[in-house]
């Protein structure tokens, strides 16, 4: 991972965190992880995953582990889905985002139950829908901006 790539991801994370401030309960940074997975740069994905885990877990209020599950599911869904679809296909991303939205609801509910927390389910459902809706445009924007900034060397 060269310096410009590092700077790009740092800027992405900063922008993503600011966006997340306006969208409580929604993970915007997952779009970056998806782009990194599509680039098939495992070393980059590993470090990005690590940083995003720390960011999301640190900002959250649930016990550690929810984000591990959440991103783990993304990696699994991506690798399974890649057998059936083109990784950069929009339909694939939309399906993936639907799956992620559903997992967001299930995992948060499960982790809250395990921690004996009472959380409003109607709000969680709404946030999961938002999550599913946010991923495709966030992925598209990240994909386009990254291609513009970093050139074709980093595209899928």
């Amino acid at each position: 991972m060269n310096f410009s790539n590092l700077v790009w991801w740092a800027c992405f994370i900063v922008a993503g965190v600011w966006l997340q401030q306006g969208l409580p309960g929604v993970d915007v940074l997952v779009a970056g992880l998806l782009v990194s997975l599509q680039e098939r740069r495992h070393y980059q994905t590993f470090w990005l995953l690590l940083v995003l885990l720390l960011v999301q877990e640190g900002a959250g209020t649930l016990a550690f582990g929810s984000t591990v599950l959440w991103y783990g599911v993304l990696v699994v869904f991506f690798n399974v889905g890649r057998w059936l679809f083109e990784a950069e296909n929009l339909a694939f991303v939309v399906l993936l985002s639907l799956g992620l939205g559903a997992c967001h609801f299930l995992f948060t509910l499960m982790m809250a139950s395990l921690q004996q927390l009472d959380i409003p389910q109607d709000r969680l459902l709404l946030e999961s829908v938002w999550q599913a809706c946010v991923v495709p445009p966030a992925w598209w924007l990240t994909h386009i901006v990254r291609r513009r900034c970093m050139g074709d060397a980093y595209t899928v």
Partner: protein, 323 residues
């Protein structure tokens, strides 16, 4: 006569010749001047527009600063309870990220700067909540409205005790364990009771909105609205606990953990203070510890010399608040 002829003919002729030229010259000069003026006006206009923009921004900043000044003055006017040190903090964000399932806010202080887990958070209007998780310089505050929030309270007039529990976002607070025969009125202020020392006593928390009695329950159903505007928090005050006097013995307090926080699961049973007990309180177990909690000492006792002579007391078991 010739003069008159000259005046009426020659002069008019000259005039007739000159006037169009002069008119044309005037027009050209005027147009040129207008053009030059226009260029100047445009430039001036642009300069004025820029000035208006700058001034508007300055006015905006000034009005924002004035509003902030008013809020900070209100915070400064708030007299903290004796022995508790107030620390200002900014609210950096509200719920942030997919794992922010609880009603929370992120503030600009952490355990290095006075915001250890369990630290009470207030505004000049009333109690906001308490620090739930703390990093070195940033902390998460669990708001009153979270269903996992528990706080021992008293009504201001009738001194009726209860436990104030959040009911969710934008919801009212429910005051639980208020016996059927206890007196409490709509509009009455609800204050912290100071039990367990998690919060100082007498800080306003909420105002009673409704009181109803049920034939099926031993307790009244009391709802109250928080005094602090939890949806628009910008600055808050942290109340740092008074330092423990050397040699003074303290009651054991629930253990706090900078990474785990004091949230659900480390709370207190009904009537045992201001903990943020978990859902259902099933994990609410007071931690037996003979070590004074490093970041959660009790308020400074009024007569520490007497306390040092008394044997250490065991923590009170969970019990419903008494009348």
């Amino acid at each position: 006569m010739l003069d008159r002829l000259a005046e009426h003919a020659g002069l008019e002729f000259v005039g007739a010749i000159l006037k169009p030229g002069v008119w044309a010259r005037d027009q050209v000069v005027s147009s040129w001047n207008n053009y030059l003026d226009l260029v100047g006006v445009r430039e001036e206009n642009e300069a004025l527009h820029e000035q208006v923009r700058t001034l508007s921004q300055q006015v905006q900043v000034a009005s924002e600063e004035r509003a902030e000044l008013a809020r900070l003055r209100a915070l400064l006017e708030l007299e903290p309870p004796e022995g508790w040190r107030p620390l200002g903090a900014r609210v950096v964000a509200n719920r942030l990220g997919p794992q922010a399932a609880l009603e929370s806010a992120i503030i600009s202080r952490g355990y290095y700067s006075g915001a250890g887990p369990g630290t009470p958070v207030v505004t000049h209007e009333g109690v906001v909540g308490r620090v739930y998780r703390a990093g070195p310089y940033t902390a998460t505050v669990l708001l009153l409205t979270d269903p996992g929030s528990r706080m021992a309270v008293l009504s201001a007039v009738n001194r009726t005790a209860g436990i104030l529990v959040g009911t969710g976002p934008r919801g009212l607070l429910e005051m639980k364990y208020v016996p059927q025969n206890a007196r409490i009125e709509v509009g009455e202020l609800v204050l912290t009771s100071g039990l367990e020392g998690a919060f100082p006593k007498g800080v306003p928390v909420a105002r009673v909105e409704s009181v109803s009695q049920s034939d099926l329950s031993l307790f009244q159903t009391v709802y109250a609205s928080p005094l602090a505007d939890l949806e628009a928090l910008e600055e808050v005050l942290l109340l740092e606990r008074p330092p423990v006097q050397p040699g003074a013995r303290t009651l054991p307090l629930p253990a706090v953990n900078a990474t785990q926080g004091v949230g659900p699961g480390t709370g207190h049973g009904p009537g045992q203070g201001n903990g943020t007990a978990g859902h259902g309180g099933q994990r609410a177990q007071p931690v037996q510890s003979n070590q004074p909690a490093p970041r959660a000492p009790r308020p400074q006792p009024a007569q520490p010399a007497q306390q040092t002579q008394q044997p250490q007391q065991a923590p009170q078991p969970a019990q419903a608040p008494r009348q």
